[in-house]
Amino acid sequence: MNPLVEVSHLEKHFEIRSGLWRTVSSHVRAVDDVSFAIAAGETLGLVGESGSGKSTVARLLLRLITATGGSVRLEGREVTTARPAEMKALRRKMGIVFQDPAASMNPRAKIKWSLRRPLVTNGFEHARIDDQILAMLAKVNLGPELLNRYPHQLSGGQQQRISVARALLLRPRLLVLDEPTSALDISVQAQVLNILLDLQEAFGLTYLFISHDLNVVRYVSDRVAIMYLGKLMEIGPVEAVLQAPRHPYTQGLAASSPPMSPHQRGRQRVLLAEQPPSLIDLPTGCRLHPRCPFRQTICEETRPELRELAPGHWAACHLAENLPAPQPRDT
């Protein structure tokens, strides 16, 4: 594999301050010792329940926030410690599409302005900017008449396609997509997913695709990573991880995910019944153990490391070899 992005031992602990002097009273371990790589031209899906640290990973990759530990490399160059000039060059190679497209656009500026501005500040040749914008709009299936509108005059799907277009105009190598379709209804979701796959094919783009919809992640990803409470629980090829998961947490997610047809009713739905514990007061040993139906003493005492169970398929579970086989799921 020829990695475009290499993340190793990445860590982000947020400080929680309290009391009269606002002293640091505890830490939220939002991302804890996370390592993975993404090959050029590949899509890595990132899945996990709310609060597991997915958006924090995304923001660390682009250095929108600073890591408290570990490293992020893009084409072999260190992102976490890059100096301002080098960072500017690196940042041009990375784009991000946020979950809420409206919130990432200036509500008082026309779409034209929002698309043009990043190109101007990044020193693109003025004479060619408008042509490039029109060409990109055509690629995301939007007409030039939208350029003179304000964000609130567009539908959710149009806004989301504008933010994809804006990210792509800078010709990034890596595009981070944070829940890009969760606000859309299914017919618009299908349009946006198709466009992303078309553009990936055309430009060899690399995606980190964050979502908690397993059907969407299965459809766009080559490999999938599963996060729980700041840690990577499982990572591997999409078929292996989603169709035959080796970690009890992934099995729980797959079982909870709604079926594609009413014929699949009646399977066991809830494997992980309790609420997740807080990130401030984390469980000892394996972070899943208080909710895990298979837990043993070792799980309460020793933290499991990621182990390669099949080529390219890693899971962090002491019992991975001895779990009952999960019910196979049709797609």
């Binding site: 899509t43 329940e49 709310s50 539908s155 959710g156 209804d185 299914i186 017919s187 618009v188 979701q189 299908a190 349009q191 997913l193 198709n194 796959l197 078309d198 908690h212 397993l214 059907n215 969407v216 299965r218 459809y219 766009v220 990803s221 080559d222 999409v238 078929e239 729980g252 997610l253 079982a255 909870s256 995910s257 709604p258 079926p259 594609m260 047809s261 009413p262 014929h263 699949q264 009713r265 739905r269 809830v270 992980l272 019944a273 309790e274 609420q275 797609t331």
Partner: protein
């Protein structure tokens, strides 16, 4: 489920909102029944009129939030036409036998009061003693499977996770033992593990209390999971209605078929998803013929002039489409 007893009967419901561009018809001539004890799902894309229909049934569209609106038709519930009740009478119905879970539970819970107190208030209406009411609150918190119910009763809404808030809302509804529960996108804000818990809870309560549920969503996964019958709405009209297997295995309306085909079901290598080109029609325009016509690959001449009626093509399966109503066997893809 009891096919003969109707929990709700909606007849020719019509809702118009006043907008700067004229009257917008959000819901047009919609008629359907919900049977006692069934889960009836209403699906359709954003803006097609699902929430408006539910709000009209609940008596929540009024002069303050929608000045100049018009509502027509009849909504029969417990032998009364809800649309003809006074606000006071409607309050009484809402307090007892008709409950609604809103899409955003934070909007419906008051941030200034503890969760337990809000449920307590809902019960105390019933003139039971204070101690008895608090005992019942604790029971309800247990019933909706809130872990550590004593502590949760003392929490403020913003201290609870999305799934917990949704369960407090459900607890509040249950306190009143409703005959019909309207659930508007009850799980869209939740991730899959918590979503599964909320659906499990709705199923358990339906079984225990014989309650009917009107479930509004655009998530076909949830429909596949718990619905008994399904109605599909497009641009303010019902275009198809059938039991859940009929909708999934044998959808007849081109819109339903295209919607189902746009769900991601496989892997990247399986090829691109189907999409529905075009947009919902402008609700302020009077449209002759079928409202889906401009986006429909199967349209024929008559679609431009005559609006198709919702007709029963096989027992229990109703479709509003000139083509689907005449073609008996397989439809063109």
């Amino acid at each position: 489920m009891d096919q003969t007893r109707r929990a709700l009967c909606v007849q020719h419901l019509d809702i118009q909102f006043s907008t700067p561009h004229g009257m917008a018809r959000a819901v047009q001539e919609v008629s359907f029944d919900i049977h006692a004890g069934e889960i009836y799902a209403l699906v359709g894309e954003s803006g097609c009129g699902k929430t408006s229909a539910a709000h009209a049934v609940m008596g929540l569209i009024n002069r303050i939030n929608a000045p100049g609106h018009r509502i027509g038709g009849r909504v029969l519930f417990e032998d009364k036409d809800l649309l003809s009740l006074t606000e006071e009478e409607m309050c009484h119905v809402r307090g007892r036998s008709l409950g609604m879970i809103f899409q955003n539970p934070l909007d419906a819970l008051n941030p200034l009061y503890r969760a337990g107190y809000q449920v307590y208030e809902a019960i105390v209406l019933d003139k039971i003693g204070k101690i008895e009411a608090w005992r019942r609150v604790a029971e309800l918190f247990n019933q909706v499977k809130l872990s550590d119910p004593e502590a949760r009763m003392r929490s403020y809404p913003q201290e609870l996770s999305g799934g917990m808030r949704q369960r407090v809302m459900i607890g509040m509804m249950l306190a009143r033992n409703p005959r019909l529960l309207i659930a508007d996108e009850p799980t869209t804000a939740l991730d899959v593990t918590i979503q599964a818990q909320v659906l499990e809870l709705i199923l358990a309560l339906r079984a225990a209390l014989e309650m009917s549920v009107w479930l509004i969503t655009h998530d076909f996964g949830i429909v596949a999971e718990i619905a008994d019958r399904v109605a599909v709405m497009y641009a303010g009209v019902l275009v198809e209605e059938a039991d859940v297997l009929g909708i999934f295995d044998n959808p007849r309306h081109p819109y339903t078929r295209m919607l189902m085909a746009s769900l991601p079901r496989g892997f990247k290598r399986d090829g691109r998803l189907r999409t529905i080109a075009g947009l919902l029609p402008d609700p302020t325009l009077e449209i002759p013929g079928c409202r889906f016509r401009d986006r429909c690959p199967a349209k024929i001449e008559v679609c431009a002039t005559q609006a198709p009626a919702l007709v029963e093509i096989t027992p229990g399966h109703r479709v509003a489409c000139h083509v689907a109503a005449t073609v008996k066997g397989d439809l063109p893809p």
